[in-house]
Symmetry: C2
Subunit: 258 residues, 2 copies
DNA sequence: AATATCGTTCGATCATATAGAACGTGGATG
DNA sequence: CATCCACGTTCTATATGATCGAACGATATT
């Protein structure tokens, strides 16, 4: 996972930073009291209190007894951001379709600020039901969908993104070298789809295809993932790629024609 | 729709208020530039610029060219708030089931700060597909689900909520009188389910049931809605209520036993 | 080429976010 | 039942930093 600008407190509104830190803490702790947040962040109790009161007043945080929790007003903003992604409506159905046809897990993912973000997800009958949901951020360089997106960025953008990438290693198979990644991205661009062979999670394979909009701009990517013992051989290397490519094609026709 | 504290700038972090105003503006305008936001809010350009830069730095806002948009990091917070609602998983399936069985639109709604908020929604084959999505806020006093929730609050909480309610009238049928509402809530409590007869939208009917958790605390409400010409007679007054009551019962058994 | 328009940077000011102490309250402990 | 924490909340002084307006630079427009 990467961050916007790690050290960057150049010229920014400090209070906003503090406020969002506060929200992130009550998210991480799944609800917290004033003192807990103050301890976690090293701020004075009164400061945290004022922040949480304000957020509660504005409806962005919910207070029950003395515990504060992330409020649903963030969902309003989040859904707004989600639904305004290109191809949002069309991809919903396609993801469900792929999940049903394959029995595995399918997802639609877009890029934002160096990360890949889940927009849709569906489970087939055999799908592994664990793990991250809508809105979660996963690394671009260690996922099938992520690599499919990277492979279709123009050079400038790609280099910008790679600049921010820390090439964190998740398993022995994660690509942790910039050059190696560039080589694989070239392959993917040519081939039209990408693989993830236990690069993010031990035992998990995936296939990904990019979804391109007008002018070949990459909108996001579709992927199917499942246990490595089921995703192998022809199914992994041919059937699933073909299914995804077909779906991507249908989608692209519909998206550009609206 | 109601607000936390309309005039309230008592003792709150002003900057947070400004920051959230900024985000709400770029949401409402579906993306906006620095000058547009500054004009909309009456702040100096430089101020808005600093705010948007900060938010962009932190990944909460996305900048393309000179336009800022609400970022997907809000979705991360929003989904967190959404999924941690009691019975989140269970209600997903039930809502889909109801939509399929009735052919209409079904939803699961919870209360937060004087408003009802959509948590799940599903469309049956005949469903009216217009209107608000997940995360949207609707009035408690003018919807079936909202009234089902109100009817099951304890007095203190109910009065707190009614305090904030402005009894906005949406159609000729909206209940705009506090006493009238209290009477109807008493009926609903006794009967176990609620109706919405074009109280929120002309031509739209709905039936709602509360979902109660441990100790009879109301968690949220399920409702089915559709055009008034289809939701009438026995179907409206008996079949749908029975279906909903049955589902609510199942849910309540599963929620309390975990 | 000239001009307007916008994003961005800069500097001074004044508002206000912050910390810390003080107050009030509920729950635990003896 | 009395005492004592521990916590949320209010208050106040101070210094930080958010704000504005002006100036700069880039870009598009005519």
């Amino acid at each position: 996972m990467t961050r916007g600008t790690d050290t960057g407190n150049r010229d920014t509104v400090q209070t906003t930073r503090t406020m969002l830190e506060t929200v992130e803490v009550i998210k991480r702790l799944e609800g917290a009291t004033v003192t807990e947040v103050a301890a976690e962040l090293g701020y004075a109790k009164s400061t945290v209190y004022r922040h949480l009161s304000t957020l509660s007043d504005l409806g962005y945080v919910v207070k029950t007894d003395n515990e504060y929790r992330v409020g649903l007003r963030f969902l309003e903003l989040g859904q707004h951001a989600r639904t305004r992604q290109a191809g949002y409506d069309l991809t919903t159905k396609k993801v469900e379709e792929i999940a049903e046809r394959t029995g595995e897990r399918a997802q639609f993912i877009v890029r934002e600020h160096g990360d890949a973000v889940y927009i849709h997800r569906a489970f087939g009958d055999d799908a592994v039901r664990t793990d991250p949901g809508i809105g979660s951020r996963i690394p671009l360089h260690a996922t099938a969908a992520g690599k499919a997106i990277l492979a279709n960025l123009d050079e400038d953008e790609l280099f910008d993104v790679l600049e921010q990438t820390d090439f964190e290693g998740f398993t022995d198979h994660t690509i942790t070298d910039r050059e190696e990644l560039l080589d694989e991205l070239a392959e993917i661009r040519e081939r039209g789809y990408s693989f993830n062979r236990e690069e993010n999670l031990k035992g998990l394979h995936a296939v990904g295809v990019p979804i391109l909009g007008d002018g070949g701009v990459v909108i996001g990517a579709l992927s199917v993932s499942g246990p490595s013992h089921r995703l192998r051989g022809d199914r992994f290397h041919e059937d699933l790629p073909n299914l995804l490519l077909g779906t991507a094609n249908e989608l692209e026709l519909n998206i550009t024609h609206t």
